[in-house]
Symmetry: C2
DNA sequence: CTAATAGTGTCTCTGAGACACTATCTA
DNA sequence: TAGATAGTGTCTCAGAGACACTATTAG
């Protein structure tokens, strides 16, 4: 074998949509190294787990997740990305629904909160680059697959669905064209229920037909 | 810091199109471990280089490459993917033109040759999975970008261009529709030259306008 | 003139996008 | 009945795909 000392971490870019904004979870560590610095949550990969398992573990440590979408993004390996030594990171992107956003308290960080992607604080490491990469991938996935179900609540209105697309892709769509398109894809079905407690005409509630992520060329 | 012993390698899936077939470079090692076993070329990442640099180094060691396309695919990290210990690999895909296929002799392998992707020998590690993943990515890139230029010679005929698409995507296209589409994308230009030494009407030669990989939605 | 490949135009159908009004609910 | 959002159809234009013949070269 070879002599090689490279440490391996997983970084999780955890997205959600809250209050008409795309947000990402950041943590502030209260112990060294990187004390008082915001970053995306990361941890070392254990020798007994593959990277995906490590990413799930990290994710569960921070949020109450049931149905979460997790996808490997890219491996960042700049020699100088971590001043302490050689550390490469396998970056993952996670999508959580508003319902699942219960941030757990946990040991090595003093704070954790969601930040809107267009007003992020200064970030440590190469985390800005990683988040930008993640946003691009998310946009691509939104346009070509049915992943949006992992951001929406289980039952949702067509307006909510459209809103999520508009927020993530950062553009607007014509109501009629959007509905026509979604209808033609056969990816959602009506639940028969309606919104309750709203002060206007209540909208019909829909749910996704298939949990599996398919290529559907949404928009 | 943490105690962690994980070795990091890069694996290169090197594609080319020769004799109307999509082929991939495999090596057979003549030293242990994995003696006499075919695999895709791989090597350990040095502590002083990032993964992409390692992949380029590996590539240059095996082929005479000038203009090569290299893209990170995915990081494979199954705990048991290497029986000797914990080894994760960052897989890359490379595209080389027929002109560049000069396989160098080198130290740790006894043999290296291109195999058609649809008749591969038995492979070590999880390399079958890696090649399948690479083929999918290549097909996607061919459909949505102008990467095909890294498989074709500098000057090529429209028939050769179409052939490359047909081979990689494993389907056929109508001549007129194919040309109409390519024409509408403005990604190639005529050189003014023609084929020479052929026993039929010589075809016009074209070249790609832009070396940069763009999203163009070819087919 | 034969063999082999290069090269070219039209029609149909589907889907994207522009666009405005009526329906239903609460207070 | 006012305020707020839900929900719906048509037309135009562009691009995908089906389809068959003529042009050019070497020998």
């Amino acid at each position: 074998m070879i002599k090689q000392h490279i440490l391996v971490t997983v970084d999780n870019v955890i997205f959600t949509v809250i209050q008409d904004r795309l947000e990402v979870l950041l943590v502030k560590r209260d112990i060294e190294p990187f004390k008082n610095q915001w970053s995306i949550p990361w941890w070392f990969v254990l020798e007994t787990e593959d990277c995906e398992v490590a990413a799930y573990r990290e994710l569960r440590e921070k949020t109450n997740v049931k149905d979460v979408y997790l996808e490997q993004l890219y491996t960042f390996s700049d020699v100088k990305r971590d001043s302490r030594g050689r550390v490469i990171t396998v970056a993952y992107m996670a999508l959580v629904t508003r319902e699942n956003i219960v941030i757990n308290a946990w040991s090595y960080t003093s704070e954790a909160k969601f930040f809107p992607v267009n007003s992020l604080p200064k970030l440590g490491f190469d985390h800005k680059k990683i988040i930008e990469y993640a946003i691009q991938r998310l946009q691509w996935k939104m346009e070509y697959t049915n992943v949006s179900q992992y951001i929406l609540p289980n039952k949702f209105t067509l307006s909510e669905l459209q809103k999520v697309y508009e927020i993530v892709l950062n553009k607007t769509f014509d109501v009629r064209n959007f509905r026509k398109k979604i209808d033609s894809l056969h990816i959602i079905k009506p639940t028969g229920e309606k919104e309750i407690g709203v002060q206007y005409r209540p909208a019909k509630l829909y749910k996704f037909i298939n949990k599996k992520i398919d290529i559907v060329e949404i928009l």
